[in-house]
Symmetry: C2
Subunit: 297 residues, 2 copies
DNA sequence: CTCGCGCCATGCCCGAGAGGCATGACGTGC
DNA sequence: GCACGTCATGCCTCTCGGGCATGGCGCGAG
């Protein structure tokens, strides 16, 4: 019996099914399904009844459940306690992230931390690759592309890319604009390595849409918005709204996933071999939970 | 953090060092050493001070120790509790073993089991290979050769092979006899597949000793002893003494290991994929502990 | 009635990790 | 100074956890 298996079993009970639990514990549904059976074989007890629909805990499972929860809680307390004894581990955590994310995501999260929590040493980063940030000394890195092993990562959020128009614009009354219409306008975009730009171009390629009628490059999100506010074009960025700009979702052709809107995926990553890895992953989970509650997943 | 790692760390503290702990938890010393470092990295805490001699727990480790022990105790209780709910798992456990082992080892162990323990359904087996016994439906198998993966096994005991002479024999006053002298006598041996026979012949080959002067084959250990009691030769078997026979250790040439005596190794094996695997390994551990306390390892 | 959708299980493959063996570095005691 | 006991490290194997793709299966909508 391993703690991981116990956590999986409890997650299945709480989530009411394997599929839902798999999402909660960040593994695929087949993997979780197999781990469950392994735990059952290991203990020699049938924990779940299979059959129609979501599987349901057996009587034995429910009887064990309190002890299993206690086991997890105790393990959690041990890991917390280690933070106290950690030498140079979680007193300071260096968080690296692109600028947009820092202002819109990390800063609000830092504001929610208590006195017991580690001090987050936030550092803006040019690279979009979490792997590079980790190599540069960051403990946690936020970016758009999952790093390769042995780094670990977790999905953080799926943020929409907005097309910002000023209040007087003909589109100002709409809530979304199709990609095909968007390219007919002059666009204010960020330079290439920025994710909103890359996501837009990838979507254009995938949809077979023509190149935008005109492109104006801005050095940062706020500047792009300022240009849009000045009527120089439609700013396509993922920043939150400024200057009273009106955000429009960018509608993609059907079947493109992400609810048909242009989005960018954020991930949070850390080094699996770093000291206090348990603490880092816990912090990453809290950050993900915070973002989910704030942006609604 | 996984329960296995916790168990390892506690074992190291209790045993006072990696090497001793490795034996206690049945893994090799290098493996245990690495797991420890992994646990430290995972928690972000230095648990042991390395340096001269056996490593010693740090202050942080000692602070965590009670919680770790509690964690293991709780996990143990959960596994015990599962035995109660196990369906057809550990109510009956089929134990297969060679005849000698059954009478001399398993039976006394069965006598020590309480009402809460599973019923051991003991079955004598001709094969010396635990793998065959498991394939034949046994839950636990006792034999002389460790099975291949995915079966799991544990060393059970190292039993001496005795040279039995009757009280009136010229050797009756001795406690041991060298292999070279033994072969000059007429010997009462078991047939080939029996382990005492195979061990003897392997030792003869290894020592370059001549073949025994004369061999009388007996169908079983007790019969061999009966023949020895009748003065028909020296019985070389691993059974406990009967018929007032005098046991002599068989001395091997130096460097042959096993404290220079002819011995056979016993192992207990089970199927890692069997239901109630946790209960089986616990039972195997208890059996090993019993044998150790009875035969002094 | 049938089709589609949401469940979970299974087959396949890959990579990480745990394990063993052999060996090396380091201290201690004879 | 040498033998021995400690733990660490390199190398290899093999299990197992994980993901993707796919297959049954029941239920509900059309």
């Amino acid at each position: 019996m391993e703690l991981r298996h116990v956590a999986y079993a409890v997650a299945v009970v709480d989530a009411g099914g394997v599929s839902a639990a798999a999402e909660a514990v960040h593994v695929s549904q087949p993997s979780l399904s197999r781990q469950l059976r392994q735990l059952e074989a290991d203990l020699g007890v049938t924990l779940f009844e299979r059959g129609s629909g979501p599987l349901r805990p057996t009587r034995a499972c429910l009887a064990l459940l309190p002890a299993l929860r206690e086991l997890l809680a105790l393990a959690g307390r041990v890991e917390e306690q280690t933070a106290v004894h950690a030498r140079g581990g979680l007193d300071r955590v260096v968080v690296a992230a692109p600028n947009v994310t820092l202002t819109d995501v990390v800063s609000p999260f830092v504001a929610t931390l208590g006195a017991d929590d580690p001090v987050l040493d936030v550092r803006p980063e040019d690279s979009r690759l979490p792997a590079d940030m980790l190599a540069a000394g960051a403990d946690l890195a936020i970016g758009t592309r999952p790093p390769a092993a042995p780094a670990r990562w977790r999905p953080l959020a799926t943020l929409p890319v907005w097309a910002y128009v000023r209040p007087g614009d003909p589109w100002a009354g709409r809530v979304q604009v199709p990609l095909s219409e968007l390219v007919e306008r002059r666009l204010v975009l960020l330079p290439r390595p920025f994710t909103s730009r890359e996501a837009l171009e990838a979507a254009l390629t995938a949809a077979g849409a023509p190149a935008p009628a005109g492109v104006l490059e801005a050095a940062s999100g706020p500047i792009a918005q300022a240009l849009a506010a000045a009527g120089r074009g439609v700013a396509v960025v993922s920043d939150d709204a400024r200057h009273d700009l009106v955000p429009l979702a960018v509608r993609l052709p059907a079947g493109a996933g992400d609810a048909g809107r242009l989005t960018i995926r954020l991930v949070v990553a850390w080094d699996s071999r770093a000291p206090a890895q348990a603490g880092l992953s816990a912090l990453a989970d809290r950050l993900a939970a915070f973002v989910t509650s704030r942006y609604g997943g």
